[in-house]
């Protein structure tokens, strides 16, 4: 039997709503915490799809405001890049934050 709890929230790493809610109930209450304990957001899209969904799930379940649960920083690259991209001149001009 499947129900709503078996829905994939992170499709890249196939993490379900049930796993995310379990982690929240164990005290992991930021998107970054949830990523590290469930792998949600660690896949190919790097959370571009699921970050906001997970933030809302945490917020609804804990009552914390969204800006407290969203990640504080992002790291390069902003989208997947072939390794050979570093050989391009433009790579040197990329800005890091």
């Amino acid at each position: 039997m499947t129900d709503d709890k078996d829905m994939f929230i992170c499709r890249c790493e196939e993490v379900t709503l049930r796993e995310i809610e379990q982690a929240i109930d164990e005290g992991f209450v930021t998107v970054t915490d949830i990523k590290r304990v469930t792998r949600a957001g660690m896949g190919l899209c790097q959370g571009r799809t699921c970050t906001k969904t997970i933030a809302r799930i945490i917020s609804q379940r804990t009552g914390k405001p969204l800006d407290e649960v969203l990640p504080k920083s992002y790291r390069s690259p902003v989208r997947p890049q072939k390794m050979q991209a570093v050989e391009n001149e433009e790579f040197n001009d990329a800005k890091n934050s």
Partner: protein, 391 residues
Amino acid sequence: MTRSADVLVIGGGIIGLSCGFYLSKRGKRVFVLDTGGFADGASGACDDMILFQSKKPGINLELTFESLELYKSLLTELGGDLGFANLGGMVLIENQQELEIMEEFVAQQRSYGLDVEVIDKREMLKKQPFLSDHIIASTYSRMDSQVDPFAVMRGFERKGTSYGMKVFRRNGVVGIDRIGTGDFQVSTVDGTIFQTPVVINAAGTWAGQIGAMVAANVPITPKRGQIVITERVPPIGDTNIWSAKYLVTKLRSDVVVDLNEDERSLGLSLALTRSGGDTYLIGSTREFVGFDKRTTIAGIRAIINQTLKVVPKLREVNFIRSIAGLRPSTPDGRMLLGEHAGIEGFFTAAGHEGDGIALAPITGKLLASMVCHDPVDQRLDELSPNRFAKS
């Protein structure tokens, strides 16, 4: 609000959670405090190795053997597979000089009981078919293993919690007071006071700041490591691989290894390990840049360039992320483990540099032994924080 515990562990990284787990298993009421979230420090920004081949014969190598055995028992004790894998490791050799140095080093390690050998190019290519032609030989050890640091930390926390351990996150320590030899009063950001006879300083890279609160000298310096992570790809070889350059530098300061300007200034030496998520983690730099844990374009570019020189096939593979962490490094390359002379009840368990994952279980177990006054293990004298006490 005041809370009391038998032991307060400051730092909820893999070392602090291991200490908390082993102490609570022995019946202590333990609180673990962390200033950030889950694995916000070095434990969440590292590779995943229980690596033998990087170690000179001595206490670190000896403890790695014991830690590996503990990991095997933790697989049952903590439940779950912890991402444990035993792929073995190879150190890649690029020229005759490196070969001679590595042959001598391997002989030393073998005499210490490590199962490791130098293999020729043909054998090497059987295990790693995609290596560049300029690699002339390699070492091979079947011992090198790995775990998923996140799974281990969560395992320690779950099991520790079942013994009564409690973890408080996002609540950093702001001060430690003590009247005479009474309990420590540890105050935190949210105003709580934790009262305890025993404090464990397991704050990793930040352990010096905690030590300073009780006038203990804890000389730990952050050494930044940047890592690049690939997309999921099929295995490119049988084992994890490292470049011999770092080891050669460490073993023979008189030898100038072949590194370009970027690689030298970043302290870069290749480590390519397959993670439990079927991605590759590729590192790593060794930079002294204070507490700045950002990744840099120069770092990412240098790591990838070095990787493509060794495994050109990876040109077509996507990298999806970069991370950086701050290794807690000490002046002599050994951790601090033990009670501080003159500050009864204050222990430090920190300074593992790049060996935190490998040595976490044995560190927690030994620390718990010390706190519980088991017979003294003389081997650990050389890890005592008192070697750095100011006289």
